[in-house]
């Protein structure tokens, strides 16, 4: 029964990882850019939500009303002012700038927020659970995050595949210069994609801040989990990303059931197994880097 419980918790945790991964994957898909500050943006959003909660005494869910648009705006501006200048066939400039941003964000948070663990609270909802039988308990909040992740990923998938704007994003992703010939400004598309990615990671950061805790340096691990979910799932596939998040989550919780306190290591090892034996991930699509 213990394993079934771990499996269930892992699946739910996977939703959160998929939320972290979606933005990373979107930015890579559109711009071939890996944002090394991705996790740190999520942490900043969590601190932002904490500030809103403290000032207006509202639930963190309502804090999203402020944090989400703010994150999207920051994403738009960061892309136009910084990331756009780094786009090149070589990944070096964008990695340098985003790694620099990551160091700046973590240390600004360390200076201004202290190194202590912080947590966002939903009150009684934090620990509310649905009982199934005698031994199984499903946390209401983790279940909510999982459903939210599924809805967000579905919306993202429909947005890119069905809408006019989604078509533009795909066109620019495939061939920016040809898209430009048809009157599209790739820089605008890139900025919008970055805005969406930042909003996605903001949701993930706030959700994670409610479920566990966060500190100024949590962003590194968020980035790594997002990356592992993307690679396990396979590049360029929204549903692969959800599956990748779930596999990572299950690996961690089942791993913790066998070897307590080793959940992160077990997750890494499962990731390396995928890298060794299924390098294109679950979706098996080959994507040019």
């Amino acid at each position: 029964m213990n394993i079934v419980d771990a499996l269930l918790q892992g699946i739910l945790l996977g939703g959160q990882y998929a939320l972290f991964a979606a933005g990373l994957s979107l930015m890579f898909g559109v711009m071939r850019l890996v944002n090394l500050a991705h996790g740190d943006i999520g942490v900043v959003a969590a601190y932002g939500a904490l500030a809103v909660v403290n000032v207006f005494v509202v639930s963190p869910v309502f804090a999203l009303v402020v944090v989400l648009p703010a994150a999207a705006l920051v994403g738009y501006v960061v892309q136009r002012l910084l990331l756009q200048r780094t786009l090149a066939p070589s990944p070096l400039p964008s990695l340098l700038v985003t790694f620099g941003l990551s160091i700046i964000i973590q240390n600004v948070l360390l200076m201004t927020m202290s190194a202590d663990q912080q947590r966002l609270s939903l009150g009684p909802l934090d620990t509310a659970a649905i009982r199934i039988g005698d031994a199984l308990r499903i946390g209401v909040f983790p279940l909510g995050v999982f459903l939210l992740a599924a809805i967000v990923l579905l919306a993202l998938s429909l947005f890119t595949s069905r809408t006019q704007y989604g078509r533009l994003i795909r066109a620019v992703s495939d061939d920016p210069s040809t898209a430009e010939l048809s009157g599209v400004d790739p820089r605008r598309i890139y900025a919008v994609a970055t805005a969406i990615a930042f909003a996605l990671v903001a949701i993930a950061g706030v959700a994670s801040g409610i479920q566990t805790s966060f500190s100024p340096t949590s962003g590194s691990l968020f980035l790594i989990f997002a990356f592992e979910a993307v690679i396990i799932g396979g590049l360029g596939s929204v549903w692969g990303t959800l599956a990748g998040g779930i596999i990572l989550g299950v690996a961690q919780t089942v791993g913790a059931a066998f070897a307590p306190a080793q959940q992160v290591l077990v997750g890494h090892l499962v990731f390396l197994l995928f890298l060794a034996f299924l390098p294109n991930g679950l979706s098996r699509k080959k994507v040019r880097a």
Binding site: F28, L92, I103, I224, A289
Partner: protein, 332 residues
């Protein structure tokens, strides 16, 4: 009219001066222990370690096109390697430095097969994950001190002054070797192949360059260098702590040095290491503020001064301090 074959030469006036100056600096550095005080020697060990790391990271990223943020994996392997080789196997710690480098290089071969499945930005994060895995595995080993680390005891009988002087000479020797290896590699046809792989791996492959082999070679060489640097870190601090030797901060420092010095040049990382060393001496006590400063300077260089400090000085590569280019003589 007779056809004359144009003469190709590789040494320039500046590279003759540069190599002579490099030799002179190395000789002067070698006799420094007889002149300067111990604290300065101790600081210079740090400079040599930084220089080794910068030169090696530049080989990876500047010539091999592999942006790694996981080189701390090899620093950690070198540091723990010297603990095992010197303390547990009982080999002389200074003989153990090259052995630790070899261990790090050998382990880089299987690591490369995993890491090379990823490209570009994902390669960067992948190398970081591998470094994390090594840290998390090593802290499980009780014989290596677990999470709190382990001290090196095989030097405990040696007089403190002698120990620091020996470590200084060892660090100097590794730094000189690192620069020479980098020059030879870049100067060779393999170096040319690497540069072509960095710029366009498909075109390089179609011109007969063995892309994977070339990249793996430089990955292994860089791992050996970082391993030797890790062994020196262990010897100079006499203690190996997993969170410190496997810290991603090493990657940040390597990137910073290479970027402000000038990526893809041999002189840039050396200059970058010196600039970083000076900044560290002045600002390191400021903690997070110092790291914010490094981050801001790094971002500004990456955005606006791509050629780095050496690029500014050398007027975009027209001055070479090492004989690596090809120059064609004008026919008379």
């Amino acid at each position: 009219m007779t056809m004359t074959t144009p003469k190709v030469h590789r040494w320039t006036r500046t590279s003759i001066v540069g190599v002579a100056a490099f030799g002179l600096v190395a000789v002067v550095a070698a006799v420094l222990p007889f002149v300067v005080e111990l604290a300065s020697l101790y600081a210079l060990i740090d400079l040599f370690i930084l220089l080794i790391l910068a030169v090696m990271w530049n080989l990876l990223a500047g010539y091999g096109g592999m942006v790694s943020i996981g080189q701390q994996a090899h620093i950690g392997l070198g540091a723990y390697g010297i603990v095992v080789i010197a303390d547990i196997l009982g080999i002389n710690p200074f003989v153990a430095i090259p052995l630790a480098a070899v261990v790090s290089a050998l382990l880089a071969i299987p690591i490369s097969f995993l890491a090379f499945r990823l490209a570009g930005g994902y390669f960067a994060v992948g190398t970081w994950v591998i470094a994390e895995v090594l840290r998390l595995v090593i802290v499980q080993v009780p014989g290596l001190g677990g999470g709190s680390g382990i001290s090196i005891s095989s030097l405990s009988g040696v007089d403190r002054i002698l120990r620091i002087v020996y470590t200084y000479w060892a660090a100097l020797a590794v730094a000189v070797i690192a620069v020479i290896v980098a020059v030879i590699l870049v100067r060779s046809s393999r170096g040319l192949a690497l540069t072509s792989v960095r710029d366009d791996s498909i075109a390089a492959a179609s011109s007969g360059v063995r892309v994977a082999y070339s990249k793996r070679l430089v990955f292994v060489v860089a791992a050996a260098g970082a391993g030797a640097a890790g062994a020196l870190v262990a010897l100079s601090s006499l203690r190996v702590q997993p969170d410190s030797v496997f810290s991603v901060q090493w990657a940040a420092f390597m990137i910073f040095m290479v970027i402000i010095g000038g990526v893809g040049t041999l002189e840039g990382p050396i200059l970058g290491a010196i600039i970083f060393f000076v900044l560290k001496q002045i600002f390191a006590d400021f903690g997070p503020l110092y790291l914010i400063l490094l981050g801001v300077i790094g971002v500004v260089f990456a955005l606006f001064i791509r050629q780095g400090a050496w690029g500014l000085i050398s007027r975009r590569g027209s001055v070479l301090l090492f004989p690596v280019g090809y120059r064609l003589d004008k026919p008379e």
